[in-house]
């Protein structure tokens, strides 16, 4: 070993020792526990029945949502997921309305054999509100609960539609000066954008009593350049991906992984 390399190694060791001694912060991973919003201990089973769905007709939002939530609950909750036909609550409400005068409350069995989306035209967000009465129909939900051995019932409304949002958008742009140095500047630009918005309201109903236990509403949207052609179904899953953790947290505790900085 030459004197020069010995000096180099010694100075490197010294530099490392000094820098180690000077470190005054440490990044650490933490898992923040978030308590479940709902006490599900009285239930062993969960029934994701169906939703009052509206918006675009390109996606069967009711069926897709039921399928997605059931599969998520199967893997990420302790409740047994009941497999049943997907119920279109829009059809149920329409049937109940037409039955008014002939019977006080229709049997869920006679109204819940409809599957998939509504046969009617696409429902607007406002239209969906007129179907809210079904969620307060304690007798309907209690009867349904009796049929499925008093599960926790998941239902609600979901609106999924395409949107257009043109306007001035601020976006970062790389700029190189005469010496070739790169800087990033903010550029304001008019852009034609289109995309999709989703607005679900999840309602949790006690199958033993037919009463509402908890309600959670969300709203998400995603926008693309107007030249980009994104299928509605892929946008639907992109948006639901953002909502599902919040939905699952209603029924089971979750841990959010992140990092923090410890200081000396």
């Amino acid at each position: 070993m030459t004197v020069r390399s010995a000096v180099a190694i010694a100075s490197l060791t010294l530099a490392l020792a000094v820098s180690a001694a000077c470190v005054s912060f440490y990044e650490i991973g933490i898992e923040t526990p978030i308590q479940a919003k709902l006490d599900t201990s009285p239930f062993q089973r969960v029934l994701v029945l169906g939703f009052v769905a509206g918006g675009t007709k390109d996606v069967d939002v009711n069926s897709e949502t039921v399928r997605l939530l059931r599969s998520q609950l199967r893997t990420k909750s302790n409740l047994k997921v009941i497999d049943s036909d997907v119920v279109s609550l829009v059809d149920v409400v329409d049937k109940l309305k037409s039955n008014v005068g002939t019977a006080a409350t229709a049997s869920p069995a006679s109204t819940s054999n409809a599957t998939g989306g509504s046969k009617d035209d696409a429902k607007s967000e406002k239209d969906l509100e007129s179907y809210d009465s079904i969620f307060a129909d304690v007798a309907y939900w209690k009867k349904l609960g009796e049929e499925y051995q008093a599960p926790l019932i998941v239902t609600g409304s979901i609106y999924f539609a395409d949107i257009n949002k043109s306007g001035i958008v601020e976006r970062p742009q790389e700029v190189y000066d005469q010496l070739g140095r790169r800087t990033v500047v903010s550029v304001r630009q008019w852009m034609d954008r289109k995309g999709f918005a989703i607005a679900p309201k999840f309602i949790f109903i006690d199958g033993r009593t037919g009463t509402q236990l908890y309600t959670d509403s969300y709203r998400e949207e995603t926008l693309y350049q107007s030249t980009q052609n994104t299928p509605a179904l892929s946008s639907y899953f992109e948006l639901m991906d953002r909502l599902v953790p919040g939905f699952l947290n209603t029924l089971s505790s979750q841990k959010i992984k992140s990092t923090r900085v410890l200081l000396k």
Binding site: I28, I30, I34, V261, L262, L263, K264
Partner: protein
């Protein structure tokens, strides 16, 4: 006479007080460092008690309050975490690392708070 003794008393107080506070900081720092080493091994209960001890020894030690905030957050004690982070920021308002920790914590804290208030 009184005018002459007053500065002397002040000086004596200063001479005694400075080493005392330095002692407190060095004792608290020992607790903080031990807390960091056990937290890195996942022993959060031990780390929490070390940092609780550190802020008890030296309540002006911003880093100890910051670490305690993290430990409470990890334990799901959001109210205590909020108080600890706030204390750390109050003691060291220009520390960007503390502020960054606090901002990340607030995202979760606000979400859970909104949910409870509903």
């Amino acid at each position: 006479m009184r005018a002459r003794t007053f500065p002397l008393v002040l000086l004596a107080l200063f001479v005694v007080a400075v080493p005392l506070s330095a002692d407190r900081r060095s004792d608290a720092k020992e607790q903080v460092e031990f807390g960091i080493s056990v937290a890195n091994k996942g022993l959060w209960t031990e780390a929490t008690s070390r940092w609780e001890k550190a802020v008890e020894i030296d309540p002006t030690y911003a880093a100890a309050w910051n670490n305690l905030g993290i430990a409470y957050e990890q334990g799901g004690k959001f109210e205590e975490a909020n108080k600890s982070y706030n204390k750390a920021i109050q003691l060291d308002p220009n520390n960007q690392l503390i502020r960054q920790n606090y901002d990340l914590f607030r995202e979760i804290y606000d979400r859970t708070k909104r949910r409870r208030d509903r």
